[in-house]
Amino acid sequence: MIRHLLVLSTAAALFAAAACSKPAAAPAAPAHPNLSGSWVRPLGDREVGGLPPVNEIPLTPWAAAKFKAERPAAGENQDFANTTDPSLRYADPNGYPRISLHPMRFKLVQTDDYVYQLWEYNQNWRQIALNVPPDPDPAITWYGNAVGKWEGDTLVVDSVGYKDSTWLDARGLPHTQDLHLVERIHRAGENLAFDITFEDPGAFTKPWAAHLIFKPSPEGSMTENIYTISDELRFRERFLQQKVTIPIRR
């Protein structure tokens, strides 16, 4: 009898609880599109865009003279043997956005507080802090100081604090430490688009823009591709018969 009463009271309590509770809410839709994934600008793909021709970039006289004096390793005025490209001569980090112009992958990892961009090339990375004000006194670094916020489906990234020894691309496009980039990153169909505005009063007479497209990489895992000064000098010794004047790993 007691057992019977217990069962009845338990059932009544469960019924009452069920009657009082609201129906389970459906999962909330994500507030922003998910940009995470592996992205690449495939070799030879004409759809992926790039920085404009140099004659369409409004260089200041200083920048024009600096560009003319550089000796890139590839392209129109190439001089691989005697290049002034800091990424080859000193194995310096590429800086931004040059590193994204490689035909190698990067991963975008999106969290609530940060977006991380992880490049296959040299295992370099940058972080974009979300919903925080720009640092009023940013350190000068290879990959700058970036903050971002969402405007609808677009992640708007504002960055400053770039070391001026890097080139903006492999052609030798210069900039100063006052470089200011505004990037609008968004989905474009299955692709990822970066619309980048370049401002730098020392290097450009007015702002200019570039449009880069990245395609989903079918291969998610990234290959180690760390490039050192020993690698570069060894290549030069073996392929160009250039004399190596510092100790290197062989």
Partner: protein
Amino acid sequence: MRSSMSCVVAGTVAALLVCTSALAHHGAASIYDMTKETTIKATVTEYVWTNPHTELGISLSGGTKTELLLELGSPPNIRNRGWTSRTVKAGDAVTVTFHPGLRGAKIGVVIKLVTADGKELHA
């Protein structure tokens, strides 16, 4: 006729891929004769999976000494085209097509390699 045209087209595409790949690091035209293609049977003497470009040493006489040093793309780029760090090893017989070095330099940039078991890989 059709097949020879296909070969020309395929060769052009392959050359463009190699050019683009090589240009990622250096101006290939300053080191190699990009208008010329050479195909030879050779023995692998070394295969180094490294930056800035993977290296392939070959011997034309079947020996163990590198007589011709060839480069491929960077590891991530050639991995996308089916290469691994163990695709070939010293002693393997291969047929390799490459742009030869300028001014008689004993170097080259690989366009295509066919392994002893017939596997064809583009660099």
